[in-house]
């Protein structure tokens, strides 16, 4: 074929251009360390890289959330340690205060020790994090959750909110526990608490209660023992029974030992330790019973809110006032607001069980301490005074045990959350490594290959340049 001079030059130039552009492309790849420098280099890889980068970023978000969760939980744990130390020392003081040999002045000095601890506890309960946010206010983290009222009593003004953090793809971990949960709560296995009536004038004292039959009908329900001052007592206003000092009274599967001489109108009440109570309506017509109430989820946002279980007699029940109803089967566990209850039997239409806080048994460690301090400050001279002091200490002791158990349980839960974070961390970091690896496989450069290509292109470019010079020097005009 005839080749025109222009074609010869053009072809050489084309070859040079092509070599040069490939050479500079590999140069760019080497400089950036990336095989895919623009999406068009490898559209599939570029698009996949966006998705993997997103997964990696989300993984990093979980890591960040774990860091802040660990931080919050560690602060909580350290406060809970101090709280449990304080409660332990209160226990020691209560034992001391119970000694018969103490004078009023001795008790008063124990009381002032307790006041110091009480203030410390309030301080701990109002602890803040580094940002000035209150640790134990639930969602109300901008003001102190425990405030002293005019009467000198400490009130909780926070809520039961629990912050959840997205610490892993499918794990939202609570990063705080509310003051309600820690200081105003008892574990659902807490012991029952007996309390002498505040207006008792006799010298009746009690020991217990102890659980003797957890399967007894009505087990878990509180009851009130009242005395007529004429040697009789009755339970919940029932038939009077003769009373002798040292008697054991057994009601609802619980037994209580009573001593001393009660006056007319004196009472001893027994309540569930954890402060939640289920009560059947007095107008119920169906035949059914329920077991003990237990806390199934203390982190439920509505935890502690009272609710009614309403039956329609047609095999359904509702826990939200009839808005939604669910089928009822005898023996089933009904849960709402973090509390659950087992119901058996056949309820009639309109039958209800009210579930709520047992008002007189709400655990409150501050209230317990306030009562003990008040009792110790009060000189005990008469038998009634002494019985009153004895009863207060005995109730306080039981409540303190419940509270300490509760704090320790919460602390254990914090500890196990911290452990879980460690486990998720190691999974997270290996996931991060695998994302990085995938990303690198997708878009990063294979340097060995690239450097070898680079030399190859260099040779190609040099050859094209040689060819150009060769063609340029070939001309018949040079020879004539």
């Amino acid at each position: 074929m005839r080749i025109s001079t222009v074609t010869m030059y053009q072809q050489s130039i084309n070859a040079l251009n092509q070599q040069q552009s490939q050479y500079s492309k590999i140069g760019l790849q080497l400089a950036s360390g990336k095989r895919v420098t623009t999406p068009s280099d490898d559209p599939q890889a570029a698009s996949q890289a966006v998705v993997v980068e997103q997964s990696k970023a989300v993984n990093q978000q979980y890591t960040d959330a774990r860091v802040s969760t660990r931080n919050a939980l560690s602060q909580e744990e350290s406060v809970l340690n101090s709280v449990s130390d304080a409660l332990t020392s209160v226990k020691g003081l209560l034992v001391q205060a119970g000694a018969d040999t103490l004078s009023n002045a001795d008790r008063s000095s124990i009381a002032s020790d307790l006041k110091g601890i009480y203030q410390t506890l309030i301080g701990q309960a109002n602890a803040t994090d580094g940002n000035g946010r209150y640790l134990f206010g639930g969602y109300q983290d901008s003001s102190p959750p425990f405030v002293s009222s005019n009467s000198g009593q400490v009130q909780y003004v926070g809520d039961t909110g629990q912050q959840l953090q997205q610490v892993d793809a499918s794990r939202q971990m609570p990063s705080n526990d509310s003051g309600q949960q820690i200081f105003l709560n008892a574990h659902n296995s807490a012991q029952y608490v007996a309390r002498a009536g505040s207006g008792n004038t006799g010298s009746v004292t009690f020991a217990g209660p102890t659980v003797v039959d957890a399967t007894a009908t009505g087990y878990g329900n509180g009851f009130v023992i009242s005395f007529d001052g004429a040697g009789n007592y009755s339970v919940d206003g029932g038939t009077p029974q003769p009373y002798t000092s040292g008697d054991s009274v057994t009601v609802n599967g619980m037994s209580l030992t009573l001593k001393g001489t009660p006056a007319a109108g004196d009472t001893v009440s027994v309540t569930a330790g954890h402060g939640y109570l289920a009560q059947a309506s007095t107008s119920n017509t169906g035949s059914f019973s329920y077991g003990s109430l237990s806390v199934s989820n203390a982190s439920d946002p509505n935890f502690g809110t009272p609710f009614d279980i309403v039956f329609d007699g047609a095999g359904n029940y509702s826990t939200d006032g009839g808005t939604t109803s669910q089928p009822y089967v005898s023996g089933q566990t009904i849960s709402a607001n973090g509390l659950s209850l087992t119901v058996q039997g056949t309820p009639a239409a309109g039958d209800t069980i009210s579930v709520g806080t047992a008002s007189n048994s709400t655990p409150n460690i501050f209230r317990t301490l306030e009562q003990v301090i008040a009792a110790l400050d009060q000189p005990a001279t008469t038998a009634a005074d002494k019985a009153n002091l004895q009863n207060t200490l005995s109730t306080a002791n039981r409540e303190l045990n419940n509270s300490l158990d509760n704090v320790l349980t919460t602390r254990a839960s914090v500890g196990s959350r911290l452990n879980e974070l460690d486990v998720i961390d190691s999974v997270g970091s290996s996931r991060n490594l695998s994302y990085s690896q995938t990303l690198s496989d997708l878009v990063d450069l294979d340097y060995n290959q690239a450097i070898s290509d680079y030399s190859l292109r260099q040779v190609g470019l040099q050859a094209a340049q040689k060819a150009y010079v060769g063609i340029q020097s070939l001309s018949l005009f040079k020879l004539i």
Binding site: M1, S40, A46, D64, Y139, Q140, S175, L476
Partner: protein, 538 residues
Amino acid sequence: MSIFSIGLSGLNTAQVALNTTSNNITNVYTPGYNRQITILGESGVGNGVQVDDVQRQFSQFVAGQLNRSQSASSALDSYQTQISQIDSLLADSKSNLSTLMQGFFSSLTDLSSTPSDPSARQGVIGATDTMTAQFRSLDGYLNDMQQGINSQIGDQVFQLNNLSKQMASLNQQISLAKARTGEAPNSLLDQRDQVVADMSKIADVELTVQDGGSYNITVGGGQTLVSGTNSFSLQAIASPSDPTRTVVGYQDGAGNVRALDESSITGGELGGLLTFRSETLDQTQNQLGQISVALAQGFNAQHAQGYDLNGDAGGDFFTIGQPVAFSNANNTGGATLSATFSSDLSGLTANDYDVTYSGGTYTVTPSDGSASFSVTPDPSTGALSFGGMTVTVSGTPQNGDSFQLQPVRRAAGQLQNAIHDTAKIAAAQKSGATGDNNNSLALQNLQNSKLVGGIATLSQAYASLVGDVGNQANVVQANQTAQQGLTNQLSALQQSDSGVNLDEEAANLIRYQQYYQASAKIISTGVAVFDTVLNIGS
């Protein structure tokens, strides 16, 4: 016939041949130049030599093939120049949208950790500002490209019109020259063929050679640009269906300017621009818009379910524009459409919609080429619902009236952060609960929700935008390389016939020089012969 006149004819012919060779040599690099060869013929019987023709080596067939191939190459070149801009725009990993969206959601993680902390809240506002600015800047870049294409269409049309005028004038000069000498001057023919080649680089023009040798040129499916000595102009006009868009218009005999279908010009730089715009630019801008609408609507909906630090329900977190609707300029009725996004985003697509009214129903044609469908107005409100929009018609349309709806085209450019007060971020699910982070968690988890068209998360949608542009750029690049190879090959073929080879011309130069010397020798021999005769008597 005398030996002198024979020798003279040789000298003359050699001179013509040397001229032709010299002309070839000097025009070796002239664009559009076609090699000429001197055709020699015997002059009568024994009368020496004569120049029959100085012939232009030109093949209409090969030139036509080359022009068509060149036209396709130019189209792909301009397509590639444009798309590589978007390709590099998406390549920057530090400032790209997915990185900034990740930053945005990661600021929400911080907010979830400390929902009432002012610095965490400020962090969210900062990340939102950065992200929305990048959305706007990407859209701004793409919109600048739209504007750039509008003005480039004007330039190309202007150049094409100039070439049409040149062609008409060359047609005239050539026919005049033919009438005068019976022969067309080679240089004019070269110029005219070069004009055809230049026009092919702008658009895929069709050449028809008339019987008299005059060139007629048509473009865009039969619109005449040059007919003999007359030329007709194209115009760059605002599209009747979207006044912000420049399209190519053709003035018909009655003086009416009619917009040419955008798909009727596919070749040349102009064709490349039009194809890039409708195939890639619109689509990319719409995809980006779709992501921003999904982000804004999805986020606002969740934000409204929460409460801010003042205990108020969350207000709009982002502001976003509404769909844009245009009435066709040729409509006979006075109806206008206006559209709002409906709350269910799953129907929202990256399409534009052409809506045509006829007899009470509206036919909707999506821009992705999927099947048209009919929409009847809601009997009570009169509104049309499709594509994640509620469209309100005001005024009365006439049969055949059409409208264009661009739901998301400029949406990314209007994405703004609506929250500037740290207290107004609704992180809580309960009013008055400063430590409540439940809504913040829900907002954070939107990054895993299929917000875009109900089928993709935000980052998946962005990944598919990147993949689409990358694929398209890749395909265009491959086509361009292949087409360039074909063009090079055809160019070599055309040059093998019409191009000058300097070695060949050097040989010709020697050849014709010797030919000249030989012819001169004839004359000197004639002189010698005459001298001999004259000297006989002396």
